[in-house]
Amino acid sequence: MLGYIIRRLLGAIPTLFIIIAATFFLMRLAPGGPFDGERRLPPEIERNIKAAYNLDKPVVEQFGLYLGKLVQGDFGPSFKNKDFSVSELIALGAPVSLKLGLLAITVAILVGSSLGVYAALRQNTASDYTVMSLAMIGITIPTFVTAPFLTLILGVYLGWLPVAGYGDGALANMILPVTVLALPQIAIIARLVRGSMVEVLRSNFVRTARAKGLTEMQVVWRHVLRAGLLPLVSYLGPAIAGLMTGSLVVEQIFGLPGIGRYFVQGALNRDYTLVMGVVILFATLIIILNLVADILYRVLDPKVRLG
């Protein structure tokens, strides 16, 4: 087990390195530096500023210095938010994004797997078809359509929920963003769980459990669910990646001051360091969470050998 984790961690290092290198050199390809476009500075001052930000050194050396800072969690200064470093901006946005993401993934897993189990237990009935058609809608319609629509109906016409804003994290302000973010994941999880549950319900050990006289409730709770929910674990990695992408739109639409919003604003303002910082952070998170999901899967699935 430990060997497996170590091997996977070592395997993640080149991946991360490639991501960091790619983002760094893309950033250097971009025309213009942090101090262009403002009033002309005397050359000696410009030289001093460039020296202060290491911009006068060869690109490879700059990359080394950037890596060194990065290891300490320093993403460099933001190009456009003059008084902030990228790390400070990320620290500002992280609590909001984290709250949004955690709520959304919890809702997605609870609702999605319940719907999937429900549909599987009533396979090929009207309720099964209804749930699966709803899931198809959830998968097909993108976040940036559901978000304005739900806001229009629940926020504007019915006036039940605030249309936008963070409101210091008030529950009412979080309901719409969390719902919108969770919807596609609910749909995917429901389909996934239904598929695996249907398969498990047909398997030999379930027939054995029924044959020895367990009630249907006991069969489902003790035997089917345990095996049927397993694929959910390996879907957690992609689900989180999906949530991160979704949060870009959701934070933008609902005006939540999270990392995703900083990222989009950074991309629109050409704040290269901010954009790169967020990408590196997200990629690292995704790699780590994928690793965690794989390890969990190995712990939970008796069929997979550890090692």
Partner: protein, 387 residues
Amino acid sequence: MAIPMSQSGREEAMKAAETVKGRSLWQDARRRLFRNKATVVSMIVLSIIILLALFAPYLSIHRYDTQDYNQVGCYPSSMIDMSKLNPPEGADPDSAAYKAYQQYNDEYPERVQCGLGIIASYEQAKSDFELYCSAGNSATAPPEINCARAPQQDDFTHVLGTDAIGRDLWVRTLYGARVSLSVGVVASFVALMIGVMYGATAGYAGGRVDAFMMRFVDIMYALPFIFFVIILMTVTADIPFFKDPFNRFILVFAAIGAVEWLTMARIVRGQTLSIKRKEYVEAAVAAGVSNAKIIRRHVIPNVIGPVIVFVTLTIPSTMLAESFLSFLGLGVQEPMTSWGVLISDGANEMETKPWLLIFPALMMAVTLFCFNFIGDGLRDALDPKDR
């Protein structure tokens, strides 16, 4: 041992064998496809949308980029009651009919403005048409007057209303369809080309080459690739070459296509690995056919089924990626438009003018549904397991 058959004879035999097998497979698939009602309906709806997009310039007299500041934020014409737009003729200002007219116009000034605008421009166009075309001097008519068709009153209404700077939403949605659909198709084609080449090569080469090539795909796969597309769009935004709308458009194609090829490569590789061990490939190797030719003649034709299914499912996801970028303001630039741009604009004004959001969003949702249903139908039709 040499095979006692001439080169051309062998090729003919191979060709004959291929056509016979291929025809039965495709006939079978087609029959099953057309039995699936959801797929057939989707194909019809999608064809209509594609035709509308293709003939967009001929479907309305409005242009997608003409701004008319006299008709800003117009209601869809179906929401305007034309009979209430003009005061009842000779009516007493104290009468109920006159008061109803006044109230109608006081409540929603956009109705009056747009309604009156319709009449005014229609009258202008009609008198121009009569002046230049009816008197038999159509040859000297100025280019903006189309003598082939007399202007109709309906031409001057906005079927779906107008946006915040007076552009016709119907025409813009159709032009958005052009952009979104072509991004979907072209980017999927880019993904198809790269993915099939890459996957077939990796799968056929096997061994270390395969391991190395697929390791690269795995690394790419670990990333939220849309972020890289966003970086690319950001970084190139200041480069003069990409400021040209057309070049930027191409960049959107290429960037999205470059994201979507990974899954394609995986699918094709898996298929290739299993085909490689088939007897007919062994026979081709024994007959001395070159590797490139085996990939072209045997491997690619046999992986085409799953690939077609995947392409139909890639098109909606590339359309989504483009709309996602455009929604964030990083995709196609004004006055060009796409569904993402329209939905984003509509979302900003949804409180007062919900139709600006509803129609483009509906159009996009319907299109995405169609592609998904067609993809599902094709998968069922081409699945050899339940033939």
